[in-house]
């Protein structure tokens, strides 16, 4: 178990492992997202109340899901890097922030666009939307805080603490539609209940959610590889990679 833990924590090993995984993850995410988008846009039936604007659900819900799940990943990675000073956990935490910010941005923008034909307004300051905006600022905060420190180690500590403190926002987002009166509809999908949607509407959504999780993993691996190269650029193995690239070019 410990041997595995150490191997997993080795940047060199992880760089190679990520390189092997990337093509597969790319293939799976393109297939799932591609099929989900085509099905969702052209084949799913229209919603009785919302008309065709409901088709935004296929990008709004998956990006919102992953922005919340991604925050947990970032906070857990931050905790691991604080407690065990694992290099790779710190790299992971730093890479989660920009991807998470982009996902939250997409959830907010698609939600605003969906709000116009459905609620008659792009934006309302209600609990769900405001807490999602706070999530976006938390992600941006982690990026900015990391950039503000010249000493990388001190920056990482500060980022990890901010990420951990920010987790308090996540249950608030989940529960906001139940706790407060809100324009936002309650959860469409519950793991414990049968879906209330028609299967033709439901399956594209499942494909998109799984697809965006796989895509998120793909993005993390691409970013982690880049960050590992930057941090390890003085090591022998990275210099050997440079030699290979030089020979190939």
């Amino acid at each position: 178990m410990w041997k595995w833990f150490h191997k997993f924590g080795s940047p060199k090993w992880f760089y190679g492992f990520a390189g092997l995984m990337i093509p597969w993850l790319a293939l799976i995410s393109v297939a799932l997202l591609g099929a989900g988008i085509v099905q969702g846009l052209a084949y799913a039936p229209e919603d009785l109340k919302q008309g065709n604007s409901f088709r935004i659900i296929y990008i709004h819900v998956p990006t919102a899901f992953i922005s919340l799940a991604g925050y947990y990943i970032m906070a857990i990675a931050g905790a691991v890097s604080l407690i065990w000073r694992m290099k790779l956990a710190d790299v992971l935490m730093r890479c989660c922030a920009p991807i998470g910010a982009a996902m939250t941005f997409m959830a907010l923008i698609t939600g605003a666009i969906w709000g116009k034909p459905t609620w008659g307004t792009y934006w309302v300051w209600d609990a769900r939307i405001t807490s999602m905006l706070v999530l976006f600022f938390l992600y941006v905060g982690v990026i900015a805080l990391g950039e503000a420190f010249r000493n990388k180690e001190a920056g990482s500590k500060a980022c990890a603490v901010l990420a951990l403190v920010g987790t308090v926002n996540i249950p608030i987002i989940y529960k906001s539609v139940d706790w407060w009166y809100s324009l936002h509809q309650p959860a469409t999908i519950k793991l414990t209940e049968k879906p209330s949607m028609h299967p033709d509407m439901w399956w594209p959504l499942v494909m998109m959610i799984v697809g965006i999780y796989v895509f998120y993993a793909l993005l993390l691996l691409i970013n982690i590889r880049g960050e590992i190269l930057q941090r390890e650029h003085r090591t022998k193995w990275v210099q050997a990679l440079v030699t290979d690239k030089m020979a190939a070019s």
Binding site: I37, Y43, N52, S53, I56, M106, T110, L218, I222, G226
Partner: protein
């Protein structure tokens, strides 16, 4: 297909601009999320190769390249 024609698919019963702009923003962001880190990684290797080439140049060549010519400074 749920729609009878491509024109109907584009119009989406009047909701076309909302739906298509949301999907457009999604696709654009997704493409940027993939391309930007890959370009950055490529840049890393280009920089490293340039650095090596600079270091392998003879010392005299590096000096003349980096010190400005005193005669041209008025």
């Amino acid at each position: 297909m749920y729609f009878d024609s491509v024109a109907e698919l584009i119009d989406m019963g009047g909701h076309g601009p909302y739906v298509w702009s949301a999907y457009g923003i999604f696709l654009l962001t997704v493409i940027c999320l993939v391309v930007v880190p890959l370009l950055k990684q490529n840049r890393f290797f280009v920089d490293q190769i340039m650095k090596r080439k600079r270091e392998s140049l003879p010392a005299a060549a590096v000096v003349t390249e980096e010190t400005p010519n005193p005669s041209s400074q008025g």
